[in-house]
Amino acid sequence: MSTITLRRSEADSAPLPTGRHEAFRTASGGLIDRRRPLEFRFDGTRLSGFEGDTLASALLANGVRLVGRSFKYHRPRGILSAGSEEPNAIVELRSGARREPNTRATVAELYEGLEARSQNRWPSLRYDALAVNALAAPIFAAGFYYKTFMWPAAFWERLYEPLIRRAAGLGRAAEAPDPDTYDRAHAFCDVLVIGGGPAGLSAALAAGRSGARVILVDEDHRLGGRLLAERRAVGSRSGVDWAAATIAELESMPEVRILSRTTLFGVYDHGAYGAVERVSDHLAVPPAHAPRQRLWRITARRAVLAAGAIERPHIFGGNDRPGVMLAGAVRTYLNRYGVLPGRRVAIFTSGDDGWRTLADVAAAGGQVVAVIDSRPSVSPALRREAEAAGARVVSGGYVAGTKGSLALKAIVVVDADGSSETIACDCLAMANGWNPIVHLDSHLSRRPAWDAAIHAFVPGTLPSGMVAAGAAGGRLTLAECLETGAQVGGEAATACGFAAAPRDTLGTDPESIAHTPLWRVAKPKGKAFVDFQNDVAAADVELAHREGFRAVEHLKRYTTLGMATDQGKTSNLAGLSLMAELTGQAIPSVGTTVFRPPFTPVAIGAFAGHHRGKDFRAIRQVPSHAWCEEQGAVFVETGLWLRPAYFPKAGEADWLESVNREVDTVRSRVGICDVTTLGKIDIQGRDALALIERVCANPFGTLPVGKARYAVLLREDGFVLDDGTVARMGERHFVMTASTANAAKVMQHLEFCHQWLWPDLDVQMVSVSEQWAQYAVAGPRARDTLRGVIDPGFDIGNEAFPFLACAEVTVGGGIPARLFRISFSGELAYELAVPAAYGDAAWRAIMQAGSPHGITAYGSEALSVMRIEKGHAAGAEINGQATARDLGLGGMLAKKKDYVGRLMKERPALTDPDRPILVGFRPVDRAQRLRAGAHFLALGAGPSLAADEGFMTSVAHSPSLGHWIGLGLLRRGPERHGERVRAYDPVRDADIEVEICSPVFVDPKEEKLRV
């Protein structure tokens, strides 16, 4: 096994004989467009089909019956169904970056040049080396892997598991980024109709005629459902013609939208539905500017579930052999696609429904060799029909086994007396009743109910607003589909307030659905599969029972029954019926597993829509962005913002050199930094100050008009939420800033405090973060620079406008602006806010005004260096785990007012003197680099959690000091200035000695910012 590689081999890609023709295509008939032939390739072989074909119908038309290999035993598999329930015929479609593994051939529309390959086989589909697994089948029973591969322990990851992983999985996913695009759309309607068969069309018609907004979705490219697959009459027309006329009428209604090629995959709460429209999957590549698929989120007041039913296979030996098909699928290929699935067809049925196949095969020119009806008696009329067609009838018997290597050659039939015989045939149509599609109505945690009349689960209590119609509701005859569809469609519209419209009275040709299911045959010959794709056989269900896995979920998980890409659409009930028999219970007592979305698998790309690559999330640009780009700034992602990080100049070797220059320039001359990303909240009203007092932990009662103050906000649990400034612009007018990261959070918090905690406060507030561009202008020449921008008449001299002053000013000849004398850098500094629309102009004006003073633009890196030099806490310190005291802010907290976080901050662990507290660090060897994230250890202490004394939060290279500096949280830090500790950083192979110092590295007396 270990020598087997799953790479494509040379032999595999060699061209195979061409020129085959569609030997199994009927001379006429079907809904394919015979004027539009198409060419396609399967495993490299050139084949042909027609527009309107699926890949499966075209393969059958060409006589290709072997389509894939099974998951575990690599058994040959063909085409079981003609719909989305297909477990066997799954292929890799397309190639390269568009390769789509596990694509159901039964729903893949044929297009010119289609390329498909079989899966899970090597070297080729016909000669698959891993078919030897079948010989080991006695070992590979359900759950065998839980009992072995345990010794020696290290071999699991090294040997066993890699082998299992390589053998598992079916197709190969594309290895390159998906080249196609996906769209997402929202739609709202009164009545959503799920399914475009006879019931759905009737429902849509009834609702549409009443004037309701209707959306009709169907997974097929052509609406009509089983009407397209059966030879039926509706009123005076054929079913196909009635469907066409109904669609035409629906299309003429302005409030009706038909979404074909659209699978309603999920039902969500409050009338929300998810659907995926395959916009371009029927084409080789999507047309220019068209998406591959579109994800619809549909909000509907009412929904009609008309998704139909899925036919059940029989469980007998070799029931997985290519050529064994569902009878309904046989009729679909005959009637819709003009394809004979076999020339000599046997029918294995447990109800009258399967007998329909007899006449259809004959009409298409095939021969029915036998009808095996498991019921003890067959009506004389049916028997006569069989005799007329030259078919044998075996009543009370069953098919026990099949013969043929890669395709069906014969069946072994056991008659009522128990004697067996072999009947040659190349197709076996099985009809064992129908299971209504109860998946969608189960998505909201509803359980289906058992309907003894049709021996199947039907919808139980439906979600609010949803009704079932037709086969999905257990009403299996065509007449019932038309009747219930029209009824519930009309009622749904009426419930939405629309007047009922007149209904057509439609007759249909008679049909009988009398049926006695045969859950499994008495004595199968060979492996009898329950779940085809996952290779779960009846014996595996017996083993699960024997080992105590009797709950349905245990059965499923232990055997993997129902866990393949088809999610058990053809196997769930079969598994339940076997477990019911083994435990002596009725099927409904065994229960069902939970149906989960999506109904059929949905491309991950469709859910993501346009949110990929650079468009994953919106980009917020600062007002100076254009200028920064012109200057070649390097940007950094900060949440959704793109902030200039630094501005490299020609000749600068690296980022550090640029940042050092920016810092030096600010500290010696002047710099400008875009700080628009800060949150800005405008707070006004009689009680504005009262609200601020309650949300801020430091006192504001003494803040005069025209002054700003640093603000620290706690969470109610006593830890620091954020910090910022509060500026009093007027008696009842304040502007609060919040950090970039917490801007939205602080706004939400303030609204909470106001609306929920203290609703009686007379205050209004609004976020003005987007409305104001705000620039820090910092450095000894900041005032000189701003004088060139601010309109004459505003005195910004040190006396008139001292540190922490704020005022409304105008710039550029009357443009309103706000000026704050606040400093993050420790320099003489201002923040100037102008309306965002003037942001770019104001920036350029400041640059111009500052030019004679040697102004530089500085980015977030220099900003960070300077705040670390000044020991200001920022995001790395305000990390949600720190108290105000931890950050050295304990002294400023108010004592005489109630505020958010006041009580909880006093808990013992939060006031423990042994907590790590913010201090500064410098390397003992000044040449060494510091790194944030290093932990502190006492000198001589070995690394252990017990020895951990805190960690470095922020570091910077300080051009002012000429070496690296750091801030960190250290146990009893402020008591330990001058002491040395280890900064231990093993993930970066660093371990250096650092000296504890004040966190304020530059201008500790704060002289520069007051000049």
């Binding site: 029973a141 079916l170 991950i604 932990h935």
Partner: protein
């Protein structure tokens, strides 16, 4: 019955007819020394370690449905011990060590696969936070590596390095982290506990907790009164409902977390990878399906299903990180109900009621904790004293302030 390659081969020759139920579907007796409420991974592991480590065998595990029907069978199967705070580090590392020896210990192949857990970072601040965490791990003797961009590229070359909105700058790697076949954990512990005499009682819902003089005396169930000296709650998702039976309010909210699996494909990714700029984490199961998830839906819920907005958010994260996923199809999505605690960390403690023990508040981290939670909870139940590795998981830490808040999100469960 011992499981081995020999028993498997032997049964193959006998048509698999000799296998026995992996655990007895026991009927409840009227009295036990210890009743464990909740037949999930934690409850079954607790029973196993009570029997194995403490010699207690007169034990019942009561499960209202079938064993393993809750979160042990709904998670994304990831195991790791890459925590950053001292309250968590020793506990999760003990769990990892128990995982490493689990299969031989319980004679059940739970497919413990140490394929590596890689947490990506996209900014300097994230890098430093991971360095802080990785260093703490290393100080506790746990493996951790900080990879740069090229180190990440070598592991997962297929993710978007060229056109990402939030470029990948590196990652924190724990090679010993990985995945475990979740159902097999429940079944393996059940079988091992059963072999030591523990009664596993399914379809037995607890409807009341009996107390006399401030002491627990038993539980009322859908299958009658069961007396017990000690009652241990291990019912993640439903903890508050059980606590309400004894008028106890907890620092816990129930939230739904969704999980996702794609169609099975041939091997694509060999490690567990988490996106640092969105809500997305992914690994590939041995069957071939990509197993992935994201953030919790964010509101209190006892419904095991989620909403479409969260699903889209998770897929967006997936496509942003790994644009080759586009054509791979989502096979199934589901939800599990989490005990989201107020600091994001669990509770393993006594309660104010004698004989009533609590194992709760696992948020979305309960699966990886299964062995250690069972081990430490068993220790607490048997000895009435916390196991040192779980000593920080006290119920009174919210009053004292000894919180274990890895994310620093505060008392808001849906942010953890």
């Amino acid at each position: 019955m011992h499981y081995s390659v020999f028993s498997v081969l032997g049964q193959a020759l006998r048509g698999q007819r000799g296998w026995k139920p992996q655990w007895r579907d026991a009927a409840p007796r009227t009295e036990y020394d210890v009743v464990i409420v909740g037949g999930g991974g934690h409850g079954l592991a607790t029973a196993y370690y009570l029997a194995k480590e403490h010699g207690l065998t007169n034990i019942a595990v009561l499960e209202r449905s079938h064993i393993g029907s809750g979160n042990v069978g709904r998670n994304t199967t990831i195991v790791r011990s890459n925590y950053g705070l001292p309250g968590n580090i020793p506990f999760y590392e003990q769990s990892m060590k128990l995982w490493e020896g689990l299969e031989q210990d319980i004679n059940y192949n739970a497919m413990v696969s140490q394929r590596g857990v890689l947490n990506l970072y996209h900014s300097d601040a994230q890098r430093d936070a991971y360095a802080r965490r990785g260093n703490a791990m290393r100080m506790a003797g746990i493996d951790a590596e900080l990879l740069d961009r090229e180190g990440v590229r070598a592991m997962v070359p297929f993710i978007d390095f060229e056109n990402a909105r939030f470029p990948v700058k590196g990652g924190l790697l724990q090679r010993r982290g990985g995945t475990v076949r979740h159902d097999a954990v429940a079944w393996g512990y059940a079988r091992a506990a059963d072999q030591r005499g523990v009664d596993i009682v399914q379809n037995c819902a607890v409807t009341g907790i009996r107390r006399e003089n401030g002491r627990v005396t038993g539980v009322e169930t859908s299958r009658g009164l069961i007396r017990a000296r000690k009652v241990a709650l291990s019912v993640a998702g439903s903890t508050s409902l059980l606590a309400a039976m004894v008028d106890m309010r907890l620092p816990i909210e129930s939230h739904v977390l969704q999980a996702f699996v794609s169609e099975g494909v041939k091997p694509l990714i060999d490690c567990v990878m988490t996106f640092g700029a969105g809500h997305f984490y992914v690994s590939q199961s041995d069957k071939g399906g990509l197993v992935f998830g994201g953030d919790i839906d964010g509101y209190n819920s006892y419904a095991q299903r989620g909403n479409l907005a969260t699903i889209e958010d998770v897929m967006e994260g997936g496509m942003a990180l790994w644009p080759g996923l586009g054509r791979l199809r989502l096979l199934r999505h589901w939800g599990g109900v989490m005990d989201m605690s107020m600091d994001g960390s669990p509770i393993i403690d006594r309660t104010g009621i004698d004989g009533l023990y609590l194992n709760a508040g696992w948020c979305y981290g309960g699966f990886k904790a299964t062995p250690a939670a069972g081990f430490c909870f068993a220790h607490l139940i048997a000895r009435d004293a916390p196991h040192p590795d779980a000593a920080a998981y006290r119920l009174d830490r919210f009053a004292t302030g000894h919180l274990i808040d890895e994310k620093g999100m505060g008392a808001q469960p849906n942010l953890h």
